[in-house]
Amino acid sequence: MENSSDDYRIQSFDPDSQILLKTALKDPSSVNLEVVSNIIVDQSLKDAAFCKESGRICYTIVQAEANQNGGNVFRKHLLNRLQQEFNPREETRTRSLQEWVCFVTFICNIFDYLKVNNMPMVALVHPVYDCLMRLAQPDALMNEEEVDCLVLQLHRIGEQLEKANSQRMDELFFLLRDGFLLQDGLASMARLLLLEILEFRAGGWVLSNTAHKYYYSEIAD
């Protein structure tokens, strides 16, 4: 499968890193995969656009390495680095909302793309829920970027997450419902986003036609 490297949005990397990434995609055993995983994670934490799609390049490198020599060095380094970023997430959030949002987007993207025997990685289920639960807290719901991030992730991986652990999904949605109904000072956009996600899940992770029209069509006034 001939994927131009542009598909992976690596233009935002510096030229040397771009070369390294392109090599990693074709010939993983010839590069230092720990370095590769670090530059991908570093970029994902800075670049709001890249973190939404970085799961794909990671997936491709994992596959390439597995096919080339059956190894999973890249995956291991990636996951452990992810864990290192996950542990101090509260500090990250305090320090930089943007980095926190990028991190959540990134870890959800990894959860989406990196599967084990076509099943989501069990090790990531609780951490992902922890992140989403944090986004559903009252203080986070006041920030549009965080609400935005939350609903985007639920659209992408909500169904898989629920299958992996439905109890925690219930808990998450208790928080969302409470937030929508009870929280003062919630921006109207935030309210709308929450309502949409509540309907989305209630409909089995699919938006009914009428709901879609309600939320997404332009109303000519």
Partner: protein, 280 residues
């Protein structure tokens, strides 16, 4: 007492460390993969870069332990880093998938065999092993799979399977991977693994092909990585064991085997051996 410590590094041991960073024993070049999973370079070109990429200031592999260092996570306890958790999860899924495949094969074979049998009713030797029932204990299967993986993670195994396709294998001459689904006692299984790995050594790459600076599994890395059941593996960093060496190592290892996971005595003993070999 010759613990290796970070502090006590004189010139002599520095030399040995350079030696060690390329592989703590003469036979580390037989390992296909270092303990962290990195594939050994077959050609030397990037070996140095890779080695340096991982180098700590003392150029020792990061999983080498001394009493003073923090050491790696014990393999006896569940590993808490995500990389390892996912690896374990993958191995568990693979084992379950293997189990299903094996069950199907047995059922198919059973059916065929019943048709062929006459009313004599006597079981062939193959029959009795299958009819004892399959090993299904997950922990046991995982342990056995790990032991098998260590054997397969060698250049010898790679060369062997390239050289001898499965249908050309002759029983007795060509090593055959032990069947983890058959019921065996622990000692019997460990012995089969041991013999299998000894046989595989016949396909070791020639000693002249040693590489410098590549990622290596040191003998001591092996110790960290192994469950106690894999302790037997340690002796196979030595080439062409003679019978007497084999039995003496056997006796030693089998006494260790029954201990709990707690490896300091084992590590100490095993640490000494390659040193002595190198200094010889």
């Amino acid at each position: 007492m010759s613990y290796r410590t970070k502090g006590s590094r004189g010139d002599a041991s520095n030399l040995e460390n350079q030696h060690r960073s390329s592989g703590s024993s003469r036979w580390s070049h037989c390992r296909k993969r270092g303990v962290d999973g990195t594939l050994r370079a077959n050609s030397d070109e990037d070996g140095d870069n890779r080695g340096k990429g991982h180098a700590r200031s003392d150029s020792r592999h990061s999983s080498f332990t001394t009493p003073e260092s923090t050491g790696p996570v014990s393999r006896c306890a569940r590993r808490s880093d995500w990389g390892s958790q996912v690896e374990d999860e993958e191995m568990r899924r693979d084992v379950h998938r293997d189990m299903q495949r094996y069950r199907r094969r047995i059922l198919a074979a059973d059916g065929a065999q019943r048709e062929r049998k006459t009313s004599s009713g006597s079981s062939g030797s193959c029959d009795s092993r299958e009819s004892d029932g399959m090993e299904t204990d997950e922990a046991m299967l995982l342990r056995r799979q790990k032991q098998i993986n260590y054997g397969k993670n060698t250049l010898a195994y790679d060369r062997y399977i390239k050289e001898v396709p499965k249908h050309m294998r002759q029983p007795g001459i060509h090593p055959k991977t032990p069947n983890k689904f058959r019921k065996y006692s622990r000692r019997s299984w460990d012995q089969q693994i041991k013999l299998w790995k000894v046989k595989l050594h016949a396909w070791d790459p020639p000693a002249g092909a040693r590489q410098e600076g590549a990622q290596e599994t040191s003998l001591n890395d092996d110790i960290e990585e192994l469950d106690l059941g894999d302790v037997m593996d340690i002796e196979f960093d030595f080439p062409a064991l003679t019978e007497s060496q084999n039995t003496s190592l056997c006796t030693h290892s089998s006494s260790v085997q029954d201990q709990d996971c707690g490896g300091t005595p084992v590590k100490v003993q095993k640490t000494e051996l390659p040193e002595e070999a190198d200094m010889a």
